[in-house]
Symmetry: C2
Subunit: 121 residues, 2 copies
């Protein structure tokens, strides 16, 4: 995580971060409303996302910033960013070029888990 950032302090003060300094960024496709993926942003990644219009994340595995699409060509053009009520999550609405998932799937959420106890209202 970068030690310095130009993120607006008025925004930074609202963030509630994980122990490693990150907020969860939910990525939603503008045209379809589909939930595509979840990325992680530190303050600087959020700053870059807001000021460049290109979705930028912090990679927990590689410990570096990445601009979505920089290597894959599967760019995410940012339409809007919303912060949630308690400051630990962002909803990033994007125009997605190509597949959002590195596996080539449209979204990263393609593994269904068994729900065995389905309660009806």
């Amino acid at each position: 995580m970068a030690s310095k950032t130009d993120l607006d302090p008025a925004i930074a003060t609202r963030l509630k971060r994980t122990p490693d300094g990150l907020v969860a960024a939910i990525v939603r496709e503008h045209d379809t409303g589909d939930v595509l993926m979840l990325g992680w942003m530190d303050d600087e990644a959020l700053h870059r996302t807001l000021t460049t219009g290109r979705a930028t994340y912090w990679s927990r595995s590689r410990q570096e910033y990445w601009v979505k699409g920089a290597t894959s060509g599967h760019h995410q053009y940012v339409k809007s960013v919303a912060l949630d009520c308690d400051g630990d999550a962002l909803l990033v609405t994007v125009e997605q070029v190509g597949a959002a998932c590195h596996t080539g799937e449209h979204t990263c959420f393609f593994t269904e888990l068994p729900v065995t106890g389905v309660e009806q209202r």
Copy 2:
């Protein structure tokens, strides 16, 4: 976080957790596709969600489990749960009773942040 859990080891082994042992749970409304909120689950919260059909989270602020709606009446009946490709996020599709946000808003993502650099493809 609970030290013991009955979560299926085949699922547990796929999870990539935050330093405090949590995965992000994106909550989406079944009927509308709206992204309602983001909660956090440890292994046991996920186990309870899958086996009871009621969305159950770990509260980072209160350091305890909470069943959504237990005090508010704003229950979340789980329709499906999907794990993402790298195991650090869940997409929980629910039937939401009432407002998802504790503020009374339909979703928690009602604070728009300014996107100043909008790039066009």
